[in-house]
């Protein structure tokens, strides 16, 4: 007999779908089938069943080979590394639960580490813009129930957040949007003709890197002021049309992604996008929301904020929390070789950081806590595989709209495997002893 577990939360992207159904074997040890999830989400669940999965911590030997070690040895190494380091970097946190993040923060505080999450290479610029100008936003259910104008700016949910449009933004029939897709106008701003753009009522094919200009032109158009014939590659008539479309909505929502946060102008793009949102609130109702990537990058920012006061790129090396992205952010710390130990959890800087920031990792004591083999585990001295969060252990996570949802455990991890939190607790307790902290 098999059993079906319902209302399972998908631990992949910031959409954090919570309607997944998972079929498991009677003994709860095997995950057989995943329903309702997108193809990426299904793979995430099914990956946990891979036969060639690493199940024991591995230590890199002098000759470059790996040697299996116990979790105790792994925790000893990690604690000793953090105790000895003058300025360790603890990076990642976006693919683990808030409980693990909390223990991680305790460790960081004791070892006076720099702590950072993947926002540093993702929506960190958004956070900087929010610190400049604020953020009128809403939960995804508001979009579902009310939004009749949906703008996707520099993001491609058809591929990156596959169920976003069907669950929240375009297709669902909400309370005031009974006709579903028919009750909404969809605008996509993207230099490429993406699969999302192909669905749009209007696609503004902005010139690459000219988002700021286009957003600025929209603000001009709202006010009915003079515009040049072409802005950012878009004829002014089309800009005015788009502006009128937005103004005529009852509830406008702007979703934006890495196309604007990590292209030229970075946080300034978001600054003005938020200004556009504020402007629209003079005429109608408008909200804006970042399309967060990892399923719990939002939660990491939240936990950092309530414990240290800042959402990412925090330097605890002076004994209190400092925040200065550019100085205290991971890539900059690594590129300047300012840190002397690297601790990675729940993310893969090896695959996403510039090579100048990855190379130093190979030359310092380093730990990578990740269920998978990744480019980061490849350059680290110690790889600690752990149970899949959201599959083999539960824990709280925050959706892209900051709504917390408690993940579920659906299947047992391979025998003897620890969760992120369990391993971090081992490290914390050892570190406290080494540092003589009560």
């Amino acid at each position: 007999m098999t059993k079906t577990i319902t209302d399972v939360i998908c631990p992949f992207c910031g959409t954090l779908c919570d309607d997944i159904e998972v079929l498991v074997s009677d003994d709860g040890k095997q995950l057989l089938e995943v329903n309702n999830a997108c193809v990426i989400g299904s793979e995430k669940f099914l990956h946990s069943q891979a036969k060639d999965r690493v199940t024991k911590p591995r230590m890199r030997q002098e000759d470059g080979s790996w040697k299996d070690v116990s979790y105790d040895e792994a925790a000893d190494y990690t604690a000793a590394m953090l105790a000895k380091a003058k300025k360790p970097l603890m990076y990642g946190w976006s693919s683990t639960n808030c409980e693990a993040q909390s223990v991680g923060n305790e460790i960081a505080e004791i070892s006076r580490a720099c702590v950072d999450n993947t926002a540093a290479v993702c929506h960190g610029t958004t956070l900087i813009a929010v610190q400049d100008i604020g953020l009128p936003t809403c939960t995804l259910g508001e979009v579902k129930n009310r939004a009749d104008r949906v703008i996707f700016w520099g993001c491609n949910p058809a591929h990156a957040h596959p169920r976003h449009m069907s669950r929240y933004s375009i297709f669902p029939r909400g309370f005031f949007t009974g006709k579903g897709q028919m009750s909404r106008k969809m605008v996509v701003v993207d230099p490429r003709v993406t699969d999302t753009a192909k669905m749009a009522d209007a696609h503004l094919q902005v010139e690459q890197g000219k988002d700021y200009e286009l957003l600025n032109a929209l603000r001009v158009a709202f006010r009915g002021e003079w515009l040049p014939d072409v802005v950012a590659g878009i004829p002014k008539e089309k800009i005015r049309e788009a502006a009128d479309l937005m103004k005529s909505g009852r509830f406008v929502i702007i979703f934006f992604g890495m196309g604007v946060t990590q292209s030229l102008s970075k946080n300034h793009n978001i600054d003005i996008a938020i200004a556009v949102t504020k402007d629209l609130n003079e005429y109608t109702k408008c909200s804006i929301m970042p399309m967060r990537g990892h399923y719990n990058v939002t939660g990491s920012g939240e936990v950092f904020a309530w414990q240290f006061g800042f959402p990412y790129s925090i330097d605890l090396s002076r004994g209190f929390a400092r925040y200065n992205p550019g100085e205290t952010s991971s890539i900059d710390l690594l590129a300047r070789s300012e840190i002397d130990a690297m601790f990675t959890i729940g993310s893969d800087p090896g695959a996403h950081f510039p090579i100048s920031a990855v190379k130093p990792i190979a030359n310092m004591p380093s730990v990578c806590i990740d269920p998978h083999m990744t480019p980061t585990s490849g350059v680290s001295k110690l790889h600690v595989p752990v149970a899949f969060n959201g599959v083999e252990t539960g824990g709280n996570c925050y959706r892209m709209d900051n709504v917390p949802i408690d993940c579920r455990k659906v299947v047992e991890p391979p025998a003897g495997m620890l969760t992120d939190e369990q391993f971090l607790v081992m490290v914390r307790d050892r570190l406290k002893k080494l540092k003589g902290v009560a």
Binding site: T6, S102, G134, E142, E302, F310, A321, P404
Partner: protein
């Protein structure tokens, strides 16, 4: 558990009517007791003031909007970071301190219980994670009901029983404490960019008025017999002339009587009254309506209030009154954050600088002090700063100084740039009253505890009650040489006990106590209709499933303390 005896202190305990008498307070097994054995640890409190641990009835200290404030105001941490020290975790933030700092600061001032004033139900798990990480103090959280679609739909047809059943369900799944109402109807209107500025403005689509919502929730609250009364932030906050809306709201409670087993006598708690006591028609002729409001409250015994004192600081305003924050950003042009929550509520955040050089701010300061000075029954008026809206809670000692010393008030009035305007638009200059320590204990301990239905547990020093005790370096026998001494004394306690555990000694944290999460567990008759409605709303309109909605599990509420209510009467 250790036994303690606090000897020879001047005890102020309105619960037992003790007014400054020298008395020993004995602590055993976490409770106040009549006497302890000779092995008890002796705390010498001679020449000191002894009170129960203070009770915060309304503050925004945990949850999504508080954290949004932390995230988007790095500047709030400038010069306010505190390093790891002994058993204290590092902290930061002035108007929106981190959770650890929040717990320590409250404890150091002698507070042992605090209520988070607005919990968006959908974000209950977030609120509880922050509460878990706020050390020492017992906390509860009030879920917001005033713009909830279930409530709007039931009350449109005046279905009190269904409303009550829904309240019971929501309190249980969110581990909530009381019925909070913020800008009833107005916040739902805000989802379309609109507002309800009077109690008779209809709510768009739902076709119900704020008056009907308030009246219905008052009745539902008493139908259930909850420990706390309905807790309301009425419509039209912060606008000149808003006192009329406040009076209209208060009138809705007329003739109602409290029904509960917790000793609560009020049916409506009107919060941060300062923001709701404005007369005038614009910011030029802005004046105090404190007299009109306190006259009404003095006469109507079923109403309690808290003050919302402006402390003249830079702070961060945050409220579930979404339209108000949008209005405020239009006034001060500072960064505006907003979050609308599906089917339930909304919230806004805007930084604000209460400058003593701006006449409106100075008048707000005066109104905040007029209210407690004009209230005849200190058991029905509690000191708050609506933290962080009118000022950070860490300024309570300063507010106490102003209330206890006319000299301190005059010094501040003389420092205002628009002193004449403050004197002409308010009556602060003519109020000679100085709060006594007994009245202070009523306004910060016995009063709020009773109003919250916790009167038998905390807020007093009667044997059997929780051993929450604060000892202040303040000698009531000696005349106060300098009003600033009052502020100093109430800033850092000599000793604080939380449930019998010493948590503060000489102003330093020495223990993290046994923090609890307070919530209210109401039993009601099975109500299939409400259960079906809840199920339907989740299937059709929520963006998450019902099965994932509840705040369940050890990591959200590790140490719960449930107040049980049986409302299964027919």
């Amino acid at each position: 558990m250790s036994e303690y005896i606090i000897k020879n202190g001047h005890v102020f305990d309105p619960v037992q009517g003790i007014n400054g008498d020298k008395k020993d307070i004995a602590i055993k097994d976490g409770k106040i007791v009549d006497k302890v054995g000779s092995g008890a640890k002796v705390i010498d409190a001679s020449g000191k003031t002894v009170m129960a641990g203070a009770v915060e009835i309304h503050a925004h200290i945990a949850g999504p909007k508080v954290n949004l404030g932390r995230i988007y105001r790095p500047e709030d941490k400038l010069f306010s970071c505190t390093p790891t020290k002994g058993m204290e975790r590092m902290g930061g933030g002035a108007s929106i301190p981190t959770t650890f700092k929040t717990g320590y600061e409250y404890a150091k001032m002698g507070y042992t219980t605090a209520m988070e004033a607005a919990m968006p139900p959908m974000f209950a798990r977030h609120v509880h994670e922050e509460i878990r990480d706020t050390p020492i103090i017992d906390e509860g959280a009030f879920p917001v009901f005033g713009n909830n679609w279930f409530v709007l739909e039931y009350l449109k047809n005046h279905e009190i029983e269904n409303t009550a059943a829904y309240i019971a369900w929501l309190l249980r799944v969110t581990k909530g404490y009381a019925v909070k109402v913020v800008n009833p109807g107005g916040t739902e209107a805000w989802a379309w960019g609109l507002n309800c500025l009077s109690v008779n403005d209809p709510v768009p689509y739902f076709d119900i008025t704020p008056a009907e919502i308030v009246k219905g929730l008052l009745e539902a609250n008493e139908y259930l017999g909850l420990p706390h009364s309905m807790h309301i932030h009425p419509n039209n906050l912060g606008n000149p002339g808003c006192y009329q809306t406040t009076l209209d709201t208060l009138a809705l409670a007329e003739g109602m009587k409290a029904k509960n087993k917790f000793g609560r006598e009020s049916v409506m708690h009107l919060t941060h009254v300062q923001f709701h006591s404005y007369k005038g028609t614009n910011w030029g002729d802005f004046e105090s309506g404190a007299k009109e409001i306190t006259d009404y409250v003095n006469k109507n015994k079923n109403i309690t209030i808290d003050t919302g004192n402006v402390t003249l600081d830079e702070t961060t305003t945050m409220t579930a009154d979404g339209p108000f924050e949008h209005h405020l950003t239009g006034l001060n042009n500072l960064k505006w954050a907003n979050c609308d929550v599906e089917l339930e509520t909304a919230a806004g955040v805007v930084p604000y600088i209460y400058s003593p050089n701006i006449s409106v701010c100075a008048i707000q300061w005066a109104i905040g002090l007029e209210i407690p000075l004009m209230m005849k029954d200190p058991m029905r008026c509690y000191i708050t700063t609506d933290h962080p809206n009118a000022g950070p809670f860490t300024r309570y000692p300063r507010v106490i100084k102003w209330l206890m010393s006319k000299k301190a008030r005059d010094t501040q009035i003389n420092a205002f740039k628009h002193k004449d305007k403050v004197l002409s638009q308010t009556s602060i200059g003519s109020l000679d009253k100085e709060l006594s320590l007994y009245e202070l204990a009523q306004m910060t301990r016995a009063g709020p505890a009773k109003c919250l239905g916790l009167g038998g547990i905390c807020g007093g020093l009667k044997p059997g009650m929780d051993a929450d005790v604060a000892v202040y370096n303040f000698n009531p026998d000696k005349p106060v040489a300098n009003p600033d001494d009052i502020e100093t004394a109430f800033s850092r306690c000599a000793h604080v006990f939380k449930s019998g555990v010493e948590v503060v000694k000489n102003g330093e944290i020495v223990g993290t106590g046994n923090k609890r999460t307070l919530w209210v567990n109401v039993k009601v008759n099975d109500n299939p209709q409400v259960m079906r409605d809840i199920n339907e709303k989740f299937i059709k309109y929520y963006s998450m499933t019902q099965a994932n909605y509840e705040a369940l599990g050890h990591h959200f509420v590790p140490n719960p303390y449930a107040l049980e209510v049986d409302a299964t009467h027919v």
